[in-house]
């Protein structure tokens, strides 16, 4: 059942999108921690989440893709 869920979540994003986000997270520094909700994550845990397509992985993919869209739209420089 867990594997089925992972496969379904992974189908939410294209392989290109997932790989893109994976590479963006891959270059995060090793000695930092990110607080997300009730948990803290290091880089390896985020990468694992993206690979597995679990909740936190998908959240990171959503965030990063959203960011890239905003960047392309020039949103960073709007008031």
């Amino acid at each position: 059942m867990k594997n089925k869920k992972v496969v379904k979540n992974n189908q939410k994003y294209s392989k290109v999108a997932r790989d893109l986000v994976y590479e963006r997270i891959f270059i995060l520094p090793n000695d930092y921690t990110l607080s997300i909700g009730a948990d803290e994550y290091d880089k390896e845990e985020l990468l694992k989440g993206i690979k597995e397509g679990n909740e936190i992985g998908n959240e990171i993919i959503d965030l990063q893709l959203d960011y890239l869209r905003d960047m392309a739209a020039g949103a960073f420089y709007n008031e």
Binding site: D31, T33, L34, S35, I36, E40, D66, D70, E79
Partner: protein, 216 residues
């Protein structure tokens, strides 16, 4: 207007440790402005104490810190503090700032419906990052500062008598400035990599209710 502020600051994991210490700066600011602070820290950050203090002291401003979800916020050891439809009525007639994940997506609107004057919070996860070497000195971490300083500015502005809209705008402005720094050539590599998470906080922070509400 009642010059009483209630702050919940649980302390039981790394994230709440950071929020605990960063709240200290808000408490110091409030004391300088001669507010009475009801500091519900650690084990006092529980539902019974919160409800009792709010009933007895009728604070004008409520600052909630901790883990949460769309319809609730937790206190010490992840125990529910306020839940929509259960005890959100205790926020009636107050200005609330909730530094917690997702809470403004549901508890925020329901608390306004139940009479809260204004509610500032986040509709998605609240992110922040820190260098592992700073875990024992949360206030010195430059990465955490980029995230938590603008977050504190909501409270600092309200304490200084600014309206909910002005407090929200101030926090947004500093987040935007910090984000621009993080994507600039002046930023460190680490700052650059964590910029998307601050951007998410900026986008998910909202103000509900009476934009002109102020406590002084």
């Amino acid at each position: 207007m009642n010059r009483v502020i209630i702050i919940t600051r649980p302390f039981y994991d790394a994230a709440t440790k950071f929020l605990f210490h960063w709240c200290r700066l808000v408490i110091d600011e409030a004391k300088e402005k001669h507010f009475k602070i009801l500091d519900l820290k650690e084990d006092k950050a529980n539902k019974t104490v919160l409800e009792s203090y709010i009933k007895k002291h009728n604070p004008a401003l409520v600052f909630l810190n901790g883990h949460g979800g769309p319809n609730l916020i937790t206190g010490q050891n992840h125990k529910v503090l306020i839940e929509s439809g259960v005890n959100d009525h205790i926020l009636s007639k107050k200005i609330i700032y909730a530094r917690s994940c997702n809470i403004a997506s549901f508890l925020g609107p329901t608390s306004i419906k139940r009479g809260a004057r204004a509610f500032i919070g986040y509709t998605r996860k609240f992110y922040f990052a820190w260098a592992n070497i700073s875990t024992s000195r949360p206030l010195t971490d430059s990465m955490a500062t980029l995230f938590l300083n603008p977050s504190n500015m909501v409270m600092v502005a309200l304490i200084k008598g600014q309206s909910a809209q002005e407090a929200y705008d101030k926090s947004q402005k500093i987040m935007r400035e910090n984000h621009l720094h993080m994507i600039s050539s002046n930023a460190s590599f680490e700052e650059n990599q964590y910029a998307p998470f601050l951007w998410s906080n900026l986008k998910s922070q909202i103000l509900l209710g009476d934009k002109s509400a102020r406590i002084v």
